[in-house]
Subunit: 189 residues, 2 copies
């Protein structure tokens, strides 16, 4: 059985990732988080020691949720083309289901920190790179030439779909990205 602190910490982070997906990692304030969880600022703060540590822990928690919801399920497919398709499907599903309260967590924090050097930015960068790298790997295994190109395109389409959905409120978003993926990754190629 895990200690009390670990349980509380987990509950804090669960909420933190959703707040951050909407307000960003800077907009994620300790006071607000404490209020929402009915605990004191100082009590919550003690779990992390600094705001930056809270941000880093939030990133880790978000990575965990992303892995559970997108990566792991797709990994049940055999490597290569099938898994690549599964990644796309799973990512779309993740967008539609709203796994994070504010849409794609990584799209939100990525553009927030892309020009702010430091450990937080480094962690975000590593997270995104893990995703694009995995796409590229599977494309390469599938025998696709220019796997890097394909990974870039799939990643970009995901960003675009997130914006169309969240900012523009465009209902065609899902159909549009499905069309683009189908053109680029025809079934059974």
């Amino acid at each position: 059985m895990q200690t009390k602190a670990a349980t509380t910490r987990q509950a804090i982070l669960e909420r933190a990732v959703d707040v951050a997906s909407v307000e960003g990692l800077e907009g994620l304030t300790i006071g607000r988080l404490a209020r929402e969880l009915d605990m004191s600022k100082s009590g919550l703060f003690a779990h992390f020691g600094s705001k930056e540590e809270l941000q880093l822990a939030t990133l880790q928690a978000a990575a965990g949720r992303f892995f559970e919801e997108v990566v792991a399920p797709a990994q049940e497919e055999p490597e290569g083309y099938a898994r690549l398709l599964a990644y796309c499907e799973r990512y779309l599903d993740y967008l539609e289901r709203g796994v994070f309260a504010g849409g794609c967590f990584w799209a939100a924090v990525g553009s927030e920190f892309d020009d702010r050097p430091g450990p937080v930015r480094d962690a975000i960068s590593a997270g995104v790179r893990a995703w694009t790298g995995e796409l590229e790997n599977q494309a390469a295994i599938a025998g696709i030439e220019d796997a890097a190109e394909l990974a870039f395109e799939i990643y970009s389409l995901g960003l675009g779909a997130n914006t169309y959905l969240r900012l523009l409120g465009d209902d065609r978003a899902v159909a549009l990205i499905r069309g683009a993926i189908a053109r680029r990754l025809p079934p059974r190629a």
Copy 2:
């Protein structure tokens, strides 16, 4: 000759768009802006009356710069396929030259406000929609079927290139997006 206030206001906004492209429209604080411009908070504030008005004015200024640097030059090409290609070229050039200090202004503020209802979000949404709408128009004029699909893809690739450049620091970004565009919009189709 324009009034003194208009001159000052313009200078403020010129700086504001660059700060906002890095720190976001919330990170754009009146105190910081005043410090950078060697003027008082209150003096600067008087030009806008509220932070939200400053944000809206900053958006308008950014739209102006984007128009000058990307849209207007491309509009010298004839409508249709040529202009569509010119939009892509110009957008890439805009990214590479760093027209805004923090990369693509619209990518930054778009994901910042995509879940925060209000006039600021509405203005950002309208700005992005003007861009995707113009892409779609030119695609339609070029006789491309499913112009909305193409506009979505081009827009998405722009977002992706911005992230690859800014967050990942990936030098292949420009080559990758050029490849994707060339595949989708072959010369002289």
